[in-house]
Amino acid sequence: MFLRTARHLVVLIAAAAMWRCGSSPTSPSGGVKLQGVVVQDATATSASAGVSARSAAKAGKIVVTVQENPSLSVTVSGNGTFEIQGLPAGGFTLVFSVNGATVGQITITAVAEGTTIKIVVRVSDQEVELVDMETDDDTGSGNGDQGTKTCMIEGGKPGAGIELEGNVDSGTSSQFKLRVNGNRSSGLVDVAAAGASYKCNGNKGGSDCKSNLKTGSKVHVGGNLTSCTTSAASVTATEVMIQKD
């Protein structure tokens, strides 16, 4: 009887473990797959990377929801990992909330069917920051790691919209070079921002905000990727958010 009970226990644990080892049951298959890691309460370990330590994020339950399809929603696990399958090809917006309060969103564009996107996101109690993004194209075509690279920006497609995070390397508020966070871009990106609207974090914006842009400023750039090769890329910005001077 003991042996039978033990056998049942072993089978139960093994079955449960095998079920859990499969893909996320809450995510439908097909379309685009997104794998992400949320780094919370983060501390910078390298000043040269241009990222500085900031106020600690409020610890809590982080939920990621797809704006275009709110039924696609996952809770970030204890170690910060999450996965969403069945995302729409073309592009989508991820909305991040901490303990039910929305703290920010990330828009990902120019995504081909069958692509796996890997992102590293930093979440604080005030904002969400895309630290790194990589794409794996399951079909072996396009701009994925398995295909031939035609653009130095991961996920970048000339003529399509793009969102970039990074630090100003040089230039002025109307034209500057951007050092993109993480490994998303292999080189500096030229940003034409003469016609862009400027916003400062914690400030309503305007001309005062625009003048805050200087070398080393941490910015979020939204706009259009006008041209991109393996050695150069140009973005016409429609919005520049200065996150930190």
Binding site: T5, R20, T45, T75
Partner: protein
Amino acid sequence: MRLAWTLGAILLLSHPAGASAAARARPAAKAKAKARADGTDLSASYSFLRSGEAHLHGADLSASFPLQRSWRLLGDLSVHSGSFAGADLKQVNFMGGLRRLFGGRTWQPFGQAMIGGSHATSRFSDVLASSQTGWGGALGAGVDYRLSPRWALRGQGDYLLLHWDAGWDADPRLSIGLAYRFPR
């Protein structure tokens, strides 16, 4: 989550009436089982952990000390690492609890319940790092295949039930390795 804990407790603590009768009918087997239960044992295993969405690999070290009959006091330490979406992950689990041995000559199954914690670290490209600690426990079962009077091949599966800031996570852990039992 509560169901998993309850189920594990029932299975670990179950003591059907027919079981003791069967044991009395086989005193020799019982004596052998008791003898096998004697002495401290140590084990070292390769271990796989599914933590959140990540697949981590590492090592599991455990020690158990005899209490009475088939019950043993258990200490368990496991370290796992891996990468997910470009970030490097590391997780250290430290737990203690009770293990119950079941009869058997060559094959000796066991079930166990532990409480403890886990420390998880996420690091991205030497630029960002964050860590946090979760608390909870684990329910598990395994089996020893005796290679000699002292050595055994051990296979084990656990369900780690941990409460983090983000809520409860239930992560499976599978281990396989060697166990050595010291004479008492």
